[in-house]
């Protein structure tokens, strides 16, 4: 029974201690800042303002040194060593980095993120925009609908809800494939079959690109158009299921597109109604109005959603643990966050994990930089 009470007491004591530490350290930090300003001959009001500002901001400043800057510098050092906690540290130079470039699992996780960026994020954007446009019609009960559309965002990372998806996306007896089988008996079968064909082809193309071997694409093409007995393989673990694991995650991403919807709703409400009226008088149809007014006017929101969505694809973790067994068939759900966790904490390779986190950081910075460069071409800001 002692385990039930003492850990909570332990953490409560630490919490109180931490608050006291922040107050004291913040007071010292703010006093030092005030002292510096006084030495520079700042006025009494300026000294007072400096003290207040640094005191209020001190939790973040202290946290930045303790939990971000310090650890980052340490990890930079460890990334050049073979640190494994229990053993002495040995300097290995760039070995971790060169190993990483040849590590098939790491490369797979990068390609998986690429798939999510190219296929998943745009589909999620489209879902978010669709929901936002629907709610922008000022329909009755808008607030209730907005809450319902947003709710999946809160649930999408929950183990509980991901298990529900695992149950529903079971290729054999899952409820979603049951619905697919209903439609397979109607003329809508062609829709199903095209969806299956397209999904397998795009997934296979990416796998082929990664292993530089196109037999899998040829196999899908030679199989031809799927017959009425075929259903999506979603979270299966046999046959071609590895082509379906990522599309399953995309489905869950689209289900939880509510966060993007909120951003789009704000952007849509900022588009002046007069633009639409003028265009309508000019005889522009709904598609033209969408294409030439709505899309350009909400481009900043799209840009914001895109950056956030892309960075999020590197951090997909829960699905790899909950939806499939050990990252899925052929590492189909290995993402950077999952592989990093696996290498570092299940196999204790601290040095290797540190190198991976630095490569990750560089990739995120590069992605963001490229996006900012590209955005000049298509993002329109009102203030410009």
């Amino acid at each position: 029974m002692q385990l039930t009470d003492s850990p909570k007491l332990f953490t409560t004591m630490w919490a109180i201690g931490t608050i006291l530490f922040i107050l004291v350290a913040g007071y010292i930090l703010a006093s030092v800042a005030k002292f510096v300003i006084r030495q520079q001959g700042g006025s009494r009001t300026l000294q007072e303002k400096t003290f207040l500002g640094y005191f209020f901001a001190s939790p973040w400043i202290l946290g930045f040194f303790i939990f971000v800057l310090g650890p980052s510098l340490m990890s930079l050092y460890w990334s050049f060593t073979n640190y494994r906690i229990s053993e002495p540290i040995v300097w290995v130079g760039l070995k971790n980095y060169s190993d990483l470039m040849q590590d098939n699992r790491f490369i797979t996780s990068m390609f998986n993120s690429l798939y999510m960026t190219v296929i998943g994020v745009p589909l999620q954007l489209a879902a978010g925009l669709g929901m936002a446009m629907l709610l922008n019609q000022k329909i009755r009960g808008q607030t209730a609908f907005r809450a319902i559309f947003y709710m999946p965002v809160l649930l999408a990372s929950s183990t509980a809800v991901l298990f529900t998806w695992r149950l529903m996306l079971n290729p054999n007896n899952g409820v979603i494939n049951t619905i697919f089988r209903w439609f397979n008996e109607t003329p809508l079968y062609y829709l199903n079959a095209s969806f299956i064909f397209l999904t397998e082809l795009t997934s296979a193309l990416l796998v082929a690109l990664q292993i530089r071997n196109f037999t899998i694409v040829e196999r899908i093409l030679s199989n031809g158009f799927p017959g009425p007995e075929r259903v999506p393989l979603w979270l299966g673990s046999e046959g071609l299921a590895f082509l379906w694991n990522k599309p399953s995650v995309v489905v869950i991403m689209m289900w939880s597109a509510g966060a993007m919807m909120i951003i789009y709703l704000a952007a849509l409400s900022g588009v002046p109604q007069s633009l639409y009226e003028a265009a309508e008088v000019d005889g522009a149809g709904p598609w033209k109005r969408f294409r030439h007014i709505t899309l350009p006017m909400i481009a900043p929101a799209t840009f914001y959603n895109l950056i956030i969505g892309m960075i999020a694809t590197l951090q997909i973790f829960e699905p790899a643990v909950t939806l499939v067994r050990d990252g899925g068939q052929n590492q189909s759900l290995y993402f950077a966050a999952y592989y990093l966790w696996r290498a570092t904490f299940r196999f204790n390779q601290i040095g290797y994990g540190a190198a991976m986190s630095w490569v990750l950081l560089i990739i995120v910075l590069m992605m963001t930089f490229v996006q900012f460069k590209l955005s000049n071409r298509w993002v329109y800001y009102e203030s410009e």
Partner: protein
């Protein structure tokens, strides 16, 4: 911006304008109805996983693993819930999760609010530099500091305690939360502070009596985000909470799956899942009216 050309508006006669306006109201009513129906249909699709969770939790094992899915159990079973009730471990998991969430939300919310106040309301030398530094950390994936933080916590003897999951939040964890609160603070008119200053209030009183009460909607929103993040958190607990007595609900549910078996105890898994998800939904229903407004603000001014 190519589609707009105002010159063509002029020759339209008043009569055709009126007819067009009439057509528009008729057409708009159709669009309105169709949108309404679409919204209802979409809501049903989005809520479906929750329905499936509830339905499965009342099934028998054979119904839950049947080759053809059973939509609604023939005779609702309470076995799964009885099993949870009979096992005191679940009470411990729930209390662990609640404890971790309360500590993390409390500490993070207080510190984040203070820091946002410094960035959004106070003038001090170095403010902009530190603010942009903070925005820069938004780009930093959590994973980059995961490894060195583990070593730090290991050195401090924090492994297998709740500390790594709760204490870092006290240092204003979450740059995005600070940013959201700061955006909200910027929208509160500055005249309020000035009027209070003239009336003889000091900065502490302004913060406590004027700004803090006005920040309620944004604080509810940020509190909800932190709450959901901590409640659902799986990666950190998997790393730091090793003994069973410390497990939170997400780990406990994860452990119900037996990777070797072909059939899983789905009714039990779904019943525990419902217990894990229900508090989030209830809290969201209370918080949602504050919530969308404050996010919209961040989006439009971000």
């Amino acid at each position: 911006m190519t589609a707009v050309n105002n010159e063509q508006i002029i020759p339209v006669t008043t009569r055709s304008v009126r007819r067009r306006a009439l057509n528009r109201t008729g057409r708009q009513r159709v669009i309105h109805t169709v949108s309404y129906l679409l919204a209802i249909g979409l809501s049903a699709v989005l809520v479906f996983p929750l329905f499936w969770m509830v339905s499965t939790s009342f099934k028998t094992m054979s119904e839950a693993n049947a080759p053809k899915p059973v939509w609604i159990p023939a005779a609702p079973q309470l076995d799964a819930y009885a099993q949870i009730w009979a096992n005191p471990d679940w009470l411990l998991y729930i209390s662990n999760t609640v404890f971790v969430t309360i500590v993390a939300v409390g500490g993070t919310l207080i510190s984040v609010t203070a820091v946002a106040y410094a960035f959004g309301r106070l003038q001090w030398p170095g403010r902009n530099f530190i603010f942009y530094l903070m925005l820069g950390t938004l780009m930093l994936p959590v994973q980059t500091t995961l490894v060195p933080q583990y070593v730090l916590f290991n050195w401090m003897g924090w492994i297998d305690t709740f500390n790594p999951i709760t204490i870092p939040g006290f240092f204003a964890g979450g740059a995005a939360m600070i940013f959201l609160l700061r955006q909200f603070l910027m929208s509160i008119p500055r005249e309020l502070d000035e009027a209070a200053l003239i009336d003889g209030a000091n900065q502490w009183q302004i913060f406590w009596y004027i700004i803090l009460p006005l920040m309620k909607p944004a604080m509810v929103t940020v509190g909800l985000f932190i709450l959901v993040g901590t409640w659902n958190s799986l990666q950190f607990p998997l790393i730091y909470l090793q003994s069973k007595g410390l497990h939170t609900l997400p780990i406990a549910i994860l452990n119900l799956i037996n990777p070797q078996a072909t059939t899983q105890p789905w009714p039990l898994i779904m019943a525990t899942s419902l217990i894990a998800v229900l508090p989030l939904i209830v809290i969201f229903m209370f918080a949602q009216r504050y919530f969308t407004e404050s996010i919209v603000l961040t989006g439009s001014k971000g």
